[in-house]
């Protein structure tokens, strides 16, 4: 038997355990050890082991849920493969023309305008939100006096606690007018306003994750840099930021994932018309908002219903990939800084 020890330098060392007559955690039965049976202990140990198995089984549930989500969202879209009774197939979302017009005599289900709309709004939100969130994270982690720091972090986390429907209604009632007046836009509800509102939703995410990454960088790094004569700002940008870069990447990726899936804000502020254009001043319709707006009125089992589930499955896949990537980067950060995940 061996056991891992941490030696004085902090490294791991594997040492054999000193031999004992009957180790405390021996799985040998009392009978084998020449002792009278202790039924109460046997019973308790049995219960203990059953409990461990049961609790592990509940943990499996978490995995099951992820698969169930994909299976049941996918299942409702599956009949598209052999075609629904009203003529929608798996190819309909990609068939020309590039229009999303699900309710008409000849429905058109091309998802390209929706994907473009999603990307447009998301990109605007990322361009506005990422620099702000990263700069704020850098300030909190590197420059802010400790007393101030204790206030900034919970305050920005409070922003994360604002329900998206509240952000949406604020953007709809107040922000939209301001933005329209300030930029002289023709449409009150458009991709740009939706992007600004969406930025509020992703700033706390990018901020929190990247701030955590920056604070996780050991103090030694900073002290070494400062001792070499670097200034605080140089240390922050050239030493701490590069050390925390996987965590910052994770923050941006996870913020991106949240922006793509965010529903209520874009549903309320984007104007919801599926125009195929790159102009940020025009209304857009995103994938998530399309599902939210149309699912309630659709006939269960119709082609339109199936295609909405198809879009949902697509959203699930995109965000799953982004989450997985973000997770990988976060693990890489911990490996890089502490040598283990």
């Amino acid at each position: 038997m061996t056991r891992k020890f941490r030696n004085s330098d902090g490294g791991l060392e594997v040492k054999p355990l000193p031999p004992t007559e009957t180790p405390l955690n021996s799985r040998k039965s009392r009978n084998e050890r020449g002792l009278a049976p202790n039924f109460l202990a046997e019973f308790r140990n049995g219960i203990d082991r059953i409990a461990e198995v049961l609790i592990s089984a509940v943990a499996l549930l978490a995995i099951a849920v992820i698969f169930l989500i994909f299976i049941y969202v996918g299942k409702e879209a599956l009949p598209l493969v052999w075609g629904t009774s009203d003529g929608a197939t798996i190819l309909s979302p990609f068939a020309t023309p590039f229009t999303w017009q699900p309710v008409s005599t000849e429905p058109k289900y091309n998802v390209f305008p929706l994907i473009l709309g999603t990307l447009k709004v998301t990109l605007i939100a990322m361009l506005l939100g990422t620099p702000l969130a990263l700069a704020a994270a850098l300030y909190t982690a590197e420059f802010a006096p400790p007393r101030l720091r204790e206030w900034i972090k919970p305050a920005i986390e409070l922003l994360a606690g604002i329900p998206s429907v509240v952000l949406g209604s604020f953007a709809l009632m107040v922000l939209a007018t301001w933005v329209q007046d300030a930029f002289g836009l023709v449409y009150r509800l458009n991709a740009f306003t939706a992007g600004i509102a969406l930025a509020f939703a992703i700033i706390p995410i990018i901020y929190t994750i990247s701030e955590d990454a920056l604070t996780a960088v050991p103090r030694l790094y900073r002290e070494a840099s400062l001792a070499l004569g670097a200034s605080k700002a140089q240390t922050a940008v050239r030493v701490v930021m590069p050390a925390a870069i996987p965590g910052i990447a994770a923050a941006i990726i996870l913020g991106f994932g949240r922006a793509i899936g965010e529903t209520m804000i874009v549903l309320m502020v984007s104007g919801n018309s599926s125009i195929l254009s790159l102009d940020p001043g025009l209304p857009v319709r995103t994938m998530s908002a399309t599902i939210a707006a149309e699912m309630a009125e659709v006939v269960v089992g119709s082609g339109h219903y199936r295609i909405l589930f198809f879009i949902g499955a697509l959203l699930f896949l995109i965000t799953a990939i982004l989450n997985w990537a973000g997770d990988r980067f976060n693990r890489r950060l911990r490996e890089k800084l502490f040598g283990s995940a």
Binding site: Y139, T140, I156, L158, V166, L172, E262, L267, M295
Partner: protein, 297 residues
């Protein structure tokens, strides 16, 4: 020169922080200013009237409370068990641990609208249909949107919140507590449930509070799993539909027949929801801060 660059850099990053914080205060300030104008005890305790242009929001508050209670009943026990597995039983190298960990992280990032689709496809179209076919042939009870299925959908959405919060607290319980308990001859199960979990009670509370705050504000998952525009009576059975504060805000903003008449009501409703979620979140933050101090003591 170097000093100037340095200064500029600090000032720039400070101004980003200031911009974010001032937007936060702007949002809160605007909503608080307009939201308190029409706010009264009557508004909170009465029903909507005249096609949502008058009256109050009591049914929406009632429905939301009922929803988050049902949701907590499902999410908290399961979440705590998974957290116990993570913190007390799993070994970091085991495959089950790595897969569950990844699943929970992934679950936290699934878009809320996808949870709505899941609720519709899984709970209503599959489980609900199966219940109806088995126990109530020819009747439509469980295979339709209801508060039960909305709560279950919301429970799945808030599960990672509970797991992550509780796990953090469990890990903060000093190792010595477990060792002392085991040394006294307690089994692992007894140690977990009689020694560790009682110490982590604040974490369970925080997890539940954060989950409730999420559940009260998320709208996308209940859009087609049970929320209703308006109901003349309160939900009294699991298969009843319900009114939801967040959903009510969406209804007021987009489905109103008279925008000007609705606006003050809308602002007050937003204010109520915001106060509710903030109170919940601040409580959670306070409990967590106290807990952290306790853990590092």
């Amino acid at each position: 020169m170097r000093k100037f660059v340095d200064r500029t850099f600090v000032v720039l990053s400070l101004s980003a922080t200031v911009i974010i914080l001032s937007m936060l205060f702007l949002i809160i300030g605007n909503i608080a200013y307009h939201g308190t104008e029409r706010l009264s005890w009557e508004f909170i305790t009465s029903n909507p009237e005249n096609g949502m242009t008058a009256g109050g929001i009591f049914p929406a508050i009632y429905g939301t409370v009922l929803l988050v209670l049902l949701m907590s009943l499902a999410a908290v026990p399961f979440g705590v068990l998974v957290a116990i597995y993570f913190a007390e039983y799993a070994s970091a190298e085991s495959r089950l641990y790595r897969w569950t960990r990844m699943a929970v992280n992934n679950l936290a990032g699934v878009p809320s609208i996808v949870f709505g689709l899941f609720g519709l496809g899984f709970f209503i179209q599959s489980i609900g249909k199966a219940i109806d076919q088995t126990f109530y042939p020819g009747r439509l009870l469980y295979a339709q949107p209801s508060i039960l299925w909305a709560a279950m959908t919301m429970a799945v959405l808030t599960l990672p919140v509970v797991i992550i919060t509780v796990e953090e607290t469990l890990r903060a319980v000093p190792r010595e507590y477990r060792e002392a308990s085991l040394a006294l001859g307690a089994t692992r199960l007894q140690t977990v449930f009689r020694v560790v979990l009682p110490q982590a009670w604040s974490g369970v509370m925080t997890g539940a509070i954060l989950a409730i705050s999420r559940g009260a504000g998320e709208v996308a998952p209940v859009l087609f799993t049970g929320a209703a525009y308006f109901l003349p009576r309160y939900p009294s059975h699991p298969v009843d539909q319900f009114m939801h504060l967040g959903y009510h805000i969406w209804v007021l903003t987009t489905q109103s027949t008279n925008v000007e008449a609705t606006k003050p009501l809308l602002y007050s409703t937003v204010f109520v929801l915001l106060v509710l979620t903030f109170l919940l979140n601040i409580t959670a933050i306070l409990i967590r801060n106290r807990m952290r101090k306790w853990a590092t003591r």
